[in-house]
Assembly symmetry: C2
Homo-oligomer: 198 residues x 2
């Protein structure tokens, strides 16, 4: 099937795109408002923008929960990307629900907050990797805002860290985002691999 | 362990970042040079930038293979993102190797090219989803270039398409990019899920 852009209005393109750009990593983004309210929300339009300086980017849509994150980042210029392991997936999901701006998702999800070392934002203590970021720029793209942040601090749990700066994927046990569901990330292979289906 | 940005030079931050921002989807990007040479290369710093208009983005680094893709896109303003299923992983890997600009990765990988309907770029016929894109903008970020493209045409194989515009993940069988390895994407779950490890 082929769908031209003139026919996009006749399809649920959101589903077709979210189902095709998979699996997606999840940025569990913590921020703080000017008046001190903590915010924590997941974003799966998330990737690396640059390796030097190390810059992460994620896309914020027009949803209400998204707006708190974006407003906080614009106010403070700071955020922390926390990586979600399987053991944190339910708590991450909890923070994807709709809360009013003054509610604290750290409390809602029952996660432990630790202060950032390099930015004045709380990080999720249980998260295996936490990356402290300073806002580089916000690029407006259609309905969304692409938030680019420079990594200024990198935290990794000792049991996930392997020698020579490798991250142990069996310990990280990350969560892959699909269209609506999630994928286990537990079995790995290298390429070329002649055992793959033809 | 915590690593401040002043200590990044003492670590292989590339490994620490690529091992943490996982699993990553893969954009297998086809382009064509002004003189007609076809190019095909994979990029795993790839996500959705906006849902309306539908905009994809991927980050191009300073590598030689990356440079052909970027040069072609800047010349023609067009590219196609082909999605990689397990059955295409070895061919995708083949196109990640180093070739000179005049070499044709479609031939090297033995993939079938079909002309784009909406842009003058070949697409990978075997790829389950192919998204034709017009360049929106290139955002320079450190050593990298973030390429943003508006989707103008969407192709999906009939066996992957499900009613109500869902993409069948069991048929798509996508490839997840890890630090150096790849992840099977075959088992899915919804949240909340009380069977996950604590």
């Amino acid at each position: 099937m082929r769908i031209h852009k003139d026919q996009f209005q006749n399809h649920d393109m959101s589903k077709l795109i979210k189902g095709a750009v998979v699996p997606r990593p999840i940025a569990w983004v913590s921020t703080i408002s000017r008046d001190g309210t903590r915010n924590l929300a997941p974003f799966s339009f998330f990737t690396v923008a640059s390796m030097n300086p190390i810059t992460l980017c994620f896309s914020v849509g027009g949803g209400a929960s998204d707006k708190d994150t974006l407003a906080n980042i614009k106010e403070t210029g700071q955020f922390i990307v926390n990586i979600v392991s399987e053991s944190l997936a339910n708590q991450m999901h909890e923070t994807s629900l709709q809360y009013s701006p003054e509610e604290d998702e750290f409390e809602k999800a029952g996660t432990q907050a630790e202060p950032g070392d390099f930015v004045d934002v709380p990080r999720v203590a249980e998260s295996p990797v936490q990356m402290e970021c300073e806002l580089d720029q916000v690029v407006e793209v259609g309905t969304n805002s692409l938030v680019l942040g420079t990594v200024v601090g990198y935290h990794i749990h000792d049991d996930v860290y392997m020698e020579k700066d490798k991250v142990n994927p069996d310990k990280l046990k990350p969560v892959g985002r699909m269209a609506g569901d999630y994928s286990y990330i537990r079995e790995f292979y290298s390429l070329p691999n002649n055992d793959l289906p033809k």
